[in-house]
Symmetry: C2
Subunit: 470 residues, 2 copies
Amino acid sequence: MINRFISVLTGVLLISLNFNVTTAQAQSDNFSAEQLTQIEQIKKQALESDIAWNLVESLTTEVGPRFPGTPGDKAAVAWAITKFKAMGFDKVWTEPASFPKWLRYSESAAIVSPAPQPMHITALGNSISTPKEGLKAQVIEFETLAELEDSADNSAKGKIVYINYRMNRDRDGNGYGPAVEARSRGAVVAAQKGAVGYVMRSVSTAHHRFAHTGGSHYKEGVTKIVSSAISNADADQLHRLIALGKPVVININIQAESMGEGISQNVIAEFTGQENPEEHVLIGGHLDSWDLGTGALDDGAGVALTMAAAKLAISHGKPKRTIRVVLFAAEEFGLWGAKAYVKANKKSLSNIVAAAESDFGADRVWAFESNVHSSSLPLVRDIAAMMKSLDIEYIGKNSARGGPDLIPFREFKIPQFQLAQDGTDYFNYHHTADDTLDKIDPIKLRQNVAAYAVFTYMTANAKTRIRGKK
Amino acid sequence: MINRFISVLTGVLLISLNFNVTTAQAQSDNFSAEQLTQIEQIKKQALESDIAWNLVESLTTEVGPRFPGTPGDKAAVAWAITKFKAMGFDKVWTEPASFPKWLRYSESAAIVSPAPQPMHITALGNSISTPKEGLKAQVIEFETLAELEDSADNSAKGKIVYINYRMNRDRDGNGYGPAVEARSRGAVVAAQKGAVGYVMRSVSTAHHRFAHTGGSHYKEGVTKIVSSAISNADADQLHRLIALGKPVVININIQAESMGEGISQNVIAEFTGQENPEEHVLIGGHLDSWDLGTGALDDGAGVALTMAAAKLAISHGKPKRTIRVVLFAAEEFGLWGAKAYVKANKKSLSNIVAAAESDFGADRVWAFESNVHSSSLPLVRDIAAMMKSLDIEYIGKNSARGGPDLIPFREFKIPQFQLAQDGTDYFNYHHTADDTLDKIDPIKLRQNVAAYAVFTYMTANAKTRIRGKK
């Protein structure tokens, strides 16, 4: 309730900010005065609208976790189709995406000696199981993956490798990359050093006792060993016990299974353009989530706010170009939906005039950046000008990366955009059981919707189309 | 690290505050000028000392959870004896306390329909088990225990009762009492209304997905049903699903066991008084903890800070009266250690000149209050004056309650004191797996030690003894 109250105050501030810039926008080569008025109206509407909140509440409550290959994933696809239709999208369809199916059954761990106590652990995606009774071995600690790599052959022989590296907190999530390498490759390097198991400090900025899951990989020819992460609190504990100098023995019990290929669906919907229907703006998020939480921040928010933005962008009539919302399948397990999309839609990728994915939580958008042909920069600046009243900075570097699901699009040089969210707190919750609806601030969500609605309207209705770098 | 940094800043502030009041204290009927100087020195020493931090780090790391009747409980008793001896206490001994032994083996829950998803649940202390495959039934929601009590006979027939009441946040923990009734009695009232199971929103102020355990009771002649609590995030979810109007079916699987009488030990240590050894100051905390976390806030902090305060209080020599530190056994399950203490020490209770228990986390002490005979109030005001530089208010109502383990002492009208901690965040962690060492701010812990050290020195060394209300 306190959160809600603060949110309402923030909302009032945002709404009042909203009226400062209108007149400054009355001139533009790309938009008529009437269009500029409509954009302001849409912005205002978005800042007062709970469309996105209602969508993400429904998705996380009525569907819940949406892990690829589970009934929740199927239910999410059905949910998206139903919602798109109810919202009046002109076309709604699905496209299949295959992915390597892996399921988590159970996970637990404990310090066996010298001080018996449970640990909060999670299997990293793709991990093999331990024996039914668990894997019991002494732990050997390394500060970083690099330190493990630099260690002698057989440095970890017969032991469970533990990597103690702690992720740095950063608004832009720049701490994630350096930390995530140990998640992705740790079990392989540990096995190469003779380890029988692998556990790492979670990729996390949290001060809470949740283990963070995430993708991990094995390598052909290297023995597969169990791959897992413990919460920061348990990592601190393990580190302290090891520092005392006595051998520390732990037991990891993870039951999980790789089950070959699974099939999920990208869910796609369009408001069809009236003048240039083949040209389209592509926005969206990913529909799947990890299994531990309900995927509110990752990526229920991105799904909901782009659906809502598309709807608001047509509140004054159908667009000049098509507005397409893509809810990607199986992102968490390796961008499988995005890869399938690019493959299935190769011919029409050159018709994308603007693409942006929201997949970084639900905090406010603080920056806007393009990645387009220089001839399109005046239009980009028009959009940035209309976002200013939302307290969004324009980053003029023109080198935006448009969200993880747009990575497979990059080689096609489509115009990509980043509506950068504040990620300071994102990795407190990311890939944990604690990623639940209460972590979304409804008013900040509205600001996201407003930003995306402005972006969508303007890229879909501008006189000239945006072009990608060539 | 950020926490540590802020803490160091806070510490500098506290330390600098420390020197403001010294001269104002140069006059007192109860203390010589030399003693007043010593008090200031002890305070300064405490604000720079990590004795308490090192103790609580050791207890929560090397012992971990200390649930009565587990190996951790035994290890804690051995730990306390060893530490007291190493700290140079003159006498160290144990006194047995029996308690009703109950152990938690496993706990899980899920929403079965309409939207299958796991829930984070915990058994309330004393709960019976469900069948091995769990207890599956439709849920019926009540807003409060009172609403359940007021409902018709058989209102919950064949269902699992869910109580949605949310605890209020409050510096003094005043939200706890109203919320805890549903924990203590909920399963009885639910059974009386025909329910087959009981689950409540955790007694919690947290925005995290931890279930909070705590004591619960059955009643002779009323059918025992499973008694449990879910996290706030899961409670929100369950409430939303029920509000949608379709029947909501859940499965609760709790395996636990009541095992008759267990025996634990109060661990007691003294610095013997030089002039009036039979008169004694009694400070302490409870050595046991719940099984889910490592009991850092509840009550590792209380244990550590009172041990440290006693040690600091004698840094200028042995006290006039005895300083006794009591680490109570089996508090969480019904003050069993405290009851045993009062029974075993009935003859000497009248020799207690001051008693205070620390059992409300590790946030800073913000207030000091007595509960003594009016003739002792001038001395109380002397103590309060010495605490002022620690930013501690004096509450003049003279009706302090001295901590849960002092409840059994009340009828003996001993002089009780409250060094009231800020409890705003305490119920974010209380009785959860998230009650771990990282939740303690080392600098705030020092301020607690300083307050207790001042209190202990002054009550042990004052010219006149403090007397209780008669």
